[in-house]
């Protein structure tokens, strides 16, 4: 009974890790091997239902969906990680300066972040994609920008909490440069909160990319992107109902894994919530 209970407690961590490691392995494999060429069209073989030849069937151009799903992990991780990098680095910088310096810098930065947050994320992303142009990198930039306000708020509250901590005062007394205090002393202390926020950002980036694809923008074809595939599958919901479950399932599974992982980290940090 005790063992069951322990597993239950850690189920978030367990499933989360399993999912992410699984997808990572698929991604690494996809660099060397996919059953078929991901962009090769074979129109006579279009919309072939799943079989031993085509594990997940073929799409409307006769491309192998399984191969495209595999390759799609690269797009997913590229968009996700890039979004996280942009979101966290700017978020920490803005939130850190606001929290550490306080005063009018704090007021200015945070009002600006409030304003950015008032924009529905998908709309801002839509406009930014229009400005930057579509593609993996540009999509990630747009999604990264909309992630900044949330992360900067978390970073700010962390820096505010630690700003007057004894170890910070001590460091100041012995003449450590403010830059070093911020990034060498305070940042490591709030890193777990940032990790949670980054994991959630990764997950929301996946969902936002799918939403952008629904609106016709986002990662460009023929690059396999789960969001785009999910959108394309809408036309075949009845005729080839299996088509939609591969990309839909992949997005759901990865996002679920990321959420569970972030919850596990949060539980670990904050024992009260266990």
């Amino acid at each position: 009974m005790d063992i069951v209970k322990r597993y239950m407690k850690n189920i978030n961590l367990l499933i989360g890790l399993l999912v992410i490691v699984g997808f990572l392995l698929v991604m690494i494999t996809s660099f060397f091997y996919t059953p078929y060429d991901v962009n090769m069209m074979n129109i006579p073989e279009k919309l072939h239902s799943p079989s031993s030849k085509y594990l997940f069937g073929t799409d409307e151009f006769g491309r192998d969906i399984f191969s495209r799903m595999m390759k799609g992990t690269q797009t997913a991780f590229a968009v996700g990680l890039l979004t996280v990098i942009i979101g966290t680095s700017f978020g920490i910088l803005i939130g850190g300066l606001a929290g550490f310096l306080g005063g009018w810098v704090d007021e200015l930065f945070m009002r600006l972040m409030d304003a950015l947050m008032a924009f529905p994320g998908i709309i801002l992303a839509l406009m930014l994609v229009a400005v930057f142009g579509p593609g993996v990198v540009n999509t990630a930039i747009a999604l990264g920008v909309i992630a900044i306000p949330a992360i900067s708020r978390i970073a700010r509250s962390g820096f505010v909490q630690h700003r007057d901590a004894e170890y910070v005062l001590a460091a100041k007394l012995i003449g450590v440069k403010p830059y070093n205090i911020m990034f060498r002393h305070i940042l490591p202390n709030i890193s777990s909160q940032i990790i949670v926020a980054a994991t959630v950002t990764f997950a929301t980036a996946m969902l936002a990319e799918a939403a952008l694809s629904y609106l016709g923008l986002g990662v460009q074809p023929p690059n396999p992107s789960w969001g785009r595939m999910l959108k394309d599958s809408q036309a075949y919901l009845v005729k080839a109902s299996w088509y939609t479950f591969a990309p839909g399932g992949a997005i759901t599974l990865l996002v679920l894994g990321l959420y569970m992982l972030s919850n596990a980290v949060r539980d670990y940090m904050d024992p009260r919530s266990k």
């Binding site: 151009f61 579509p134 074809p221 005729k239």
Partner: protein, 519 residues
Amino acid sequence: MKQTRNWVFLMLLLLLGVMISACSNDNDKKDTNKVPTNVPVTTDTPQEIVVRINDDPDFLDPHKATASISYQMILNIFEGLMAPETDGSLKEGLAESYEISQDGLTYTFKIRSGVKFHNGEDLTIEDIQYSFDRLMGKNGGEKMSNNFDNVASTEAPDTTTFVIKLKEPNSNFLYSLTARQAAIIPKSNDGKHNENPIGTGPFAYVKYAPGSNLVLKKNESYWKEGLPYLDKVTFAFQSDDQAAIMSLMANEVDLTSVPWQRVNEVENSHHLSHQNNNSSLIVTFNETKAPFDNIKVRQAMNYAISKADIIDSVFAGYAVPLGSNMSPAMGDYQKKGLEDKYKLDVAKAKALLAEAGYPDGFKTKITVSSHNDIYSNIAQIVAANLKEIGVDVEIEVVEWGIWLDRVYFGRDYTMTTIDLTGRASAYEILNDYISTNDSENFFLFKNEEYDNIMADVLKETDTAKQIAYYQRAQEILAEQAVSVYVADYQIVWGSDKQVIGLKSYPFWFHDMSEVKFSN
């Protein structure tokens, strides 16, 4: 003080919203509770139809409206001196008869009598004069169209005759007198043509709810005896094609276009009718930019791109291949056989590329609009096809607004794909978008012989000779490999009841005047 009050207003927007949602529009209520008075008791099918349209009209004012989507709907409200026919010819509309002088410069129209506007007023010669003056910017306003630049004068010698004099003969002129280009509207409604449009057409305007629907009702005193059959037409706006077909299945709309891939889902439960769209779907190039300034490269593209692949996977087979701008829907005007001029031939395409100086291919970019998935899907096939001859195509999907700005008007592109919407006349189909003297020539195609043909055909009054000109023009388009002319796709209409009398025109127009349900 006033300012504070307005601020309070803004703050209360939210609360107001909740309250309105609780006690909403009284108008709506009246509309639905009103018992229809003129329904013939003989039939048990309600003579009301809900037609799904992708988007809102740009304007309801027929002189201001420009987007082809608007005319699909509002041509039911308005009429011109001439009226379009389904085969691309013209018949008399508000003009009972007309005469053209020997020199082709003077057009004399006899105006139909007993025609009433929707507001009950009689159609008078003043209204016709007013409509043309308004279009030409002669009663104070701005000129609303370039179509009448060639008009020297207009006059009304008596109350039933209207005369238009041209500066130069133009065999296509009558085409600019349909409701699409020159709707006749009542003078008494001046200044309100957009808010409360009034015409003489089979249906009268009831209300327009932006983003939701446009409602029309039967014109009880329509001059064509016995028409229209329907009492009410609602154009419901729904942009998502996939959601639209589900609305059809759920009986929430009566008539909608069915995405080609999903035709077999409704073919057993619904009535289908096929309409040749008369548009030409093309993959085209900026012909002033290397490498597409080279005719051999353009021919290579024609040999390498598989029309069959596109027709099969994008249109699920519901399309006919083209060889020029002209679709088979235009009957005799079309030059037959051009669609086979460039048969899929990868070896030949490679050879042509080598001759043009690109033995190893090149890199290029195709810019397509995101407003309809067909464009990005076609781009994917084009990229896959061209990869076979060593041409590396990057696909760039942009919003419709950006596409218009950058590609269509800005001409800052190398390759694109689009469907050129159908026009009422062969002249417009061949002149618009392509001819050097047309401002919409976004391929920047330039060919002297072609331009001469387009100028000469306007002076030609004999139909057979006009057709010869038009056919030669199509040959030039094919020879010069101006574009890859892919296909004219069909629109498959699905309806829940048996709808009869749905006519298909060579341009987008949902003519509801003769539509009725049968059991």
